[in-house]
Amino acid sequence: MLKRKNDNILVRFNKSFYDEEMITKSISDFGKTFDIKLKKDDKYFEVTIKDYDKNKIAAMEFCNYVLGMMKLENRKV
């Protein structure tokens, strides 16, 4: 689920299953507490969160948060 890159957490959200707006919204909510950055490639939205050991659980919560947001906004459902 999570990939480690140096000391950062890398979460890759497949563009076919996740909505960009919902990811951006979630980042703005989580961004107050953690250092999060968003990158894009052809197939994935790449979210980088700093400090692997400290924020591992938070990163997984972030994955659920994005899914939850999509349910609330009725995206991709």
């Binding site: 689920m1 497949n14 076919s16 299953f17 939850g68 349910k71």
Partner: protein, 137 residues
Amino acid sequence: MVVDLNKNIKINSTENSVNIEIDPAVYSLDVIYSACYVFLDRAYILVDSNNKKIQVEMVPKKGADLGEVGSEFNNELLNYAHYKMMGKKNSELRKIILQRALITNDPSVIDFSVDDFELEDKKNIKTPWNENAKKKK
């Protein structure tokens, strides 16, 4: 003969995660999302795809049995697939009931009557009682 019921489940005990592979031809994407939402409070979930199959990766929150979580997810998929199928099947009836409930004040607007439905009237309930009584005489 041993049948592997959960052959779409791959357990990764080192990462404490379970990977469920789903054929999109069997379960639609909205069914998969619905099943995921049920598990949001019990596991961390990430949806991805691989080799034309949809992969749901789950990390249980409270050290639950990985195989059990995967099997329960499979059950939930089936549950929502059935729910969706029945919803589709009953959509016309639901529409009629809702229409009837909303337009009860002006019955002339309703473009159907009970006679439109072919129901088997074994006990001859549709015929008024006085006509039934005449027939008996």
